[in-house]
Symmetry: D2
Subunit: 427 residues, 4 copies
Amino acid sequence: MHTPIPDYLHEVLENTRDDGEVATYIPELARANPDLLASALCMSDGKIYAAGDIHERFTIQSISKPFVYALALQERGFETVLDKIGVEPSGESFNSASLDPRTQRPENPMVNIGAIATHALVRPEASRDERFEAVRAGLSAFAGRELDVDEAVYASEMGTAFRNMSLAYLVRSVDGFTQDPADIVEGYTRQCSILVDVRDLAVMAMTLANAGINPITQERVVDEHVAQQVLSVMTTCGMYDAAGDWMTQVGIPAKSGVAGGIIGALPGQVGAAVFSPRLDPVGNSVRGVQAFERFSGDMGMHLLKSPPLSRDVIRHANRRVSGQGEFHVIELQGPLRFSSAERVMRELEQIPNDRKTIALDLARVSSVDDVSRRMLMEGLRRLILEGHAVYLVDPRSSIPNRDLGDGTFPADAASLETLGLALTEGS
Amino acid sequence: MHTPIPDYLHEVLENTRDDGEVATYIPELARANPDLLASALCMSDGKIYAAGDIHERFTIQSISKPFVYALALQERGFETVLDKIGVEPSGESFNSASLDPRTQRPENPMVNIGAIATHALVRPEASRDERFEAVRAGLSAFAGRELDVDEAVYASEMGTAFRNMSLAYLVRSVDGFTQDPADIVEGYTRQCSILVDVRDLAVMAMTLANAGINPITQERVVDEHVAQQVLSVMTTCGMYDAAGDWMTQVGIPAKSGVAGGIIGALPGQVGAAVFSPRLDPVGNSVRGVQAFERFSGDMGMHLLKSPPLSRDVIRHANRRVSGQGEFHVIELQGPLRFSSAERVMRELEQIPNDRKTIALDLARVSSVDDVSRRMLMEGLRRLILEGHAVYLVDPRSSIPNRDLGDGTFPADAASLETLGLALTEGS
Amino acid sequence: MHTPIPDYLHEVLENTRDDGEVATYIPELARANPDLLASALCMSDGKIYAAGDIHERFTIQSISKPFVYALALQERGFETVLDKIGVEPSGESFNSASLDPRTQRPENPMVNIGAIATHALVRPEASRDERFEAVRAGLSAFAGRELDVDEAVYASEMGTAFRNMSLAYLVRSVDGFTQDPADIVEGYTRQCSILVDVRDLAVMAMTLANAGINPITQERVVDEHVAQQVLSVMTTCGMYDAAGDWMTQVGIPAKSGVAGGIIGALPGQVGAAVFSPRLDPVGNSVRGVQAFERFSGDMGMHLLKSPPLSRDVIRHANRRVSGQGEFHVIELQGPLRFSSAERVMRELEQIPNDRKTIALDLARVSSVDDVSRRMLMEGLRRLILEGHAVYLVDPRSSIPNRDLGDGTFPADAASLETLGLALTEGS
Amino acid sequence: MHTPIPDYLHEVLENTRDDGEVATYIPELARANPDLLASALCMSDGKIYAAGDIHERFTIQSISKPFVYALALQERGFETVLDKIGVEPSGESFNSASLDPRTQRPENPMVNIGAIATHALVRPEASRDERFEAVRAGLSAFAGRELDVDEAVYASEMGTAFRNMSLAYLVRSVDGFTQDPADIVEGYTRQCSILVDVRDLAVMAMTLANAGINPITQERVVDEHVAQQVLSVMTTCGMYDAAGDWMTQVGIPAKSGVAGGIIGALPGQVGAAVFSPRLDPVGNSVRGVQAFERFSGDMGMHLLKSPPLSRDVIRHANRRVSGQGEFHVIELQGPLRFSSAERVMRELEQIPNDRKTIALDLARVSSVDDVSRRMLMEGLRRLILEGHAVYLVDPRSSIPNRDLGDGTFPADAASLETLGLALTEGS
């Protein structure tokens, strides 16, 4: 059998229609073949699906912005970065010469003025070339391979970088950074000229969606809360001045670049990338937008889509007797998060007081998040305080640290079978 | 044992600090006791936790906006509603007299001018009172009980409704509606004067988070795609002019009201509400915002939070022999969605061609969304086309309709035990 | 001989080109004959020149704004009016729903929202009809005849007055007035529907240019400082969003109306009016603007045009002897204002100390403004203090009150001839 | 006697109150003595009155803007300059990074971004230093003496010229100029660092008010229509974001600078300057603004002030008989401009047809502008065509060229005495 996903990707690409124009304000970009088209998906274990002109490399342009923002947050910390750059959608075009009128900061790191300020935050004391090398190395870590610069595009962009120079001096004038603005613009323009293909972009997006860990190299590139912050800002500011349209119709944190790339990242699930050079009037790839509308609809990837009905987290809850005595057995299943852990709390609440020994079976639990782990431990602690004996059956160590917070621990059991409490399958 | 959730709610409320002012522009609201404080959480099965002044009723005010937007979308359809009201954050204050300069429509349904236009979309041919009754009945369906109007607040607001009158005439001047603007403002003001308590609001929020089905009455109030649209618009436009701050710091679709209420809705998980009359300068409840920051952080409810690592969806995949022959057995576990179904596709791809008979076991699968169901069926169809015999072990009917799309069906099996293929637990 | 001015007016009208569109948003105005064309000039003594369709009456529309502003200033005083309505150009379109963000007042009385607020300032305690009657009577005083309302246009405008209703409620919401907004809009719309012809408008403009005195009836309609304030506001705010274009290219305080009228007023010189219904995109009469560009260029009426070189204010200054003794005689000529009076002061300064008796001859002075009168009197006072005898020769009473401020008076002389000091003409 | 004007100037200065702050964003300016205070008036014949710290020199700063705009208009022509820089008030602060959204040009030459673009228009092909020298020489011609640069202020400003660099690059990015932005900012900053005192500024202002001719050197620095354009732009854009306040309260075309200078120019009358370093929040000298309010009120210098009533331009008009026959004699007096010439036309119209010989006496006319000269000649031409004999009595050559436009000429007469038609004085 062959997995149907490549067929799907091909079908999506074939069904996009194209009527935009390639970017022309950077002469070198105007020479791009407008009919190029490629897409890739990267899964959380690093598996990549790709279709179309997948070996075509192009400059990353604005898609570099969220990743350098991530590097800045990681290196300098939230306080320093948020002190210099806001997180609000600007309602202005991507190259607007405007600061937040109240704070005199760039409004967000996804518009050019904010991205230039972000570049300056990386290795602030270093030379221009050292700073760029830190950025290039950081983006390479996101991609999982060493990335290079397209020197022809870099030279072409620098030849018309007047507006970016204006933005850099504007930020400099409000002490958004203290380096030489020309150095920052040169570094930022090199950053935009880094060459990638759709697979690189899909891996980079998946690294954000994977809490900061590159799914291929398994390197932790940035911390989880950094990845969350970047995805949050992409959600409201990533697709320029149509945040509401994108949120209602696609609902995936995303970022587009003027060379024709778009990335999207759905936490825990997938990193996606499309490349097609023709742009719509606001500067997003025409076919890229269409492909993401398909991804959102077909793959159920909208952030606000209701998840399907889950089975009850309580698989069984009943009295069982074995050679080891009488137990109140509770078998859990599926993912544990706040809402399912809350259901478990209610189940614990209803255990009759005379059921002195309790076995809680996590063998079928597929995942445990931090809040549900804490809730579970608190529930067990309360049961023990009330005089119950508690066995935790956790053969796959869903809960690594079993300290209940007050130095007590539940009893351990390898499995319900060990305790002689297993039911036959399906019962 | 008592579930720790009520303790948590109490602790959150106690730890909010209060330094805002109650709304004064509506004289009746200025009389509110500023020290009132309450919160409620509603789970997807209708369980409600509540703490504080939970019997206190207050006017719903702007929190009515997303629900009436939902009613309008449900009754009139997306095309009609989107033709009249945009979905972009406005960057203006909630009562701004501004239309989208390009489209001459209200920018979104969460600012007053858009909410007034939304009210007019409900039952457009009906009388003022019939329209209001439709709105009141719709909001009651969201709440699961019959809601009433606070006539004193209504009268007080109408006495100073000059700005809303201005907004209504502005919309009327661009043919945003064709009814009498005074009728629309009266209806809208009655809508804002509907009385709720925090439990009502939590149920209403959970109805949106529950794909449109009231978790208590089980009534489908609006369609799933309507609920998704409303939550999307709340995400970018719900908290007035700080969309980016709210998204980065809280990350829960939300809406606040000038009487001091805030609701939040996390799809599939929880509807939350807080009530505290003191407001910050942009008009959000001071303690309400603090409580939601706690909810987001403590309960892991941020939309962009990476989910915890799941166990591999493939629990076992190996050759087993029983009295019924030789099987290639694949046991799945946990939730199936695009990313885990994709993993399953890869597993199916690797089945050796000589393994003629395949058993796919869904007994431990906790949920199956639409895309993963389609992917699974497509994978099975391809296996059968290649000459494999396929058994689907689905004791809990995770996949109700097993038609593979071309009229073929996989074979059915009650359980691996039935086929004699079960392993002992833990192996 | 026939004066060439009518020929000039005809020539100007014939040489305007027309390519705009009549206003259509008021249905009744859309029925106007677009080819109508008329112009009139009114001089300070009431003489009127007119050409074209001079008997055609049309609704005054926005041209009423400066005159009702004048009535409000006259009736309520500067402080009250300036407290409610600003004087800054708005940079917004004439019907924008915007208030000054800092002061929450309408930005000026020439945009609709400011004109509506202005209407409400007239006779604030009166009924709607009494207020309108005060406005109609005031405009009639400006025109010098009783003006009537075009009831068909009034009814047509009221049928689509939604935006003006919106503006009125917006002003009401910030307490810009306290009357019923519907009453104010009805009164304001009647005000806009008052019928005038180009001769009426020229007289009205000349009344402003004539320091508030109607040049025909000689009635003082408003005070001089009111007229100056209105002309000042017309200068920066009269021609909508092109204040700079109008100031550089025309340089005449002006106001246009949507029915096709434009007025201009040059202090002390002329009131001008043109009527032609086709409008340019910002709402000004196409041929009206062209005619005013001609007026400005041909008639030297630009406010910032340098006046021609004047003859020296000192016609003669020398020693003369008559039977009455030895005199230092200074004959002045032309207009006296600050700059020429300053020159006189210098002349007085140079009188040799031994010239004990001085004769100052004002017989050839054409005008004396307030500052030059004060300077002259101060100069004479100082001469007397120094011991000079001073004769003032002022046969036409250019200086009615000769009190030098300290109770002293210069000597009086009917003429230089009386003193035997006249030179022969031309010497 | 001593002229009272110096006393007046002293009194004005003494009665200004001071509560602002000196500019601090340029470190060198922050060292200014905040208590310095000086003022000067320059008359059209070059006479200067000055009071206060009149020998104190300070940097011209933004007051250079109108003069360099004049130089650019003179050198490059209106079309080129207007194609690059608009004339509309911007409503933004003086250093705003904004272009006209419609035209992508700086909105006017009085805000920094427009002044930088203006500097680049002077000698566009020259080197940075040659361009600056042309500017310095041009400003020196306005001042009537060679002006120098304060190198310390220049160096200080260049050290913090980040915002101006941003503005220059922004203009460069829209091809507002093609030179190196750093060169332009350096030249512009040197321009702002030129040293002047209040007398220099008064002379410079009077040169604009004097139709472009320096009142002291009598050099024509710019053409009359250039001076008119500059004064027009100063009227709407000179005092930053309070065009309406300044026009209503002062009504004098003006420009202020951050070092504390303000100039005002009233066409044909006076150039005024005040210097006092403390600034109000929008950047205008606190005492400078107060002094100009006094000048406007006390000296009757408001542009929209109605001129005083003039004597009738017709001094006498009657039949007189001398040895040379029967004449219809018309004696004119005072200034001739459109409005008075129009009155003359009416007088000519009423000459009885049987009065064959006409004498028009201009001996008492104080000035004749271009339009009135043309009207007069046309009137005489028509009289001659109708068969009248016409004598022009113009002893002071008010009308140098007497060609009536069709090759005919009126007869000449030295004076009414020559013709035996003089009346006795006062009759």
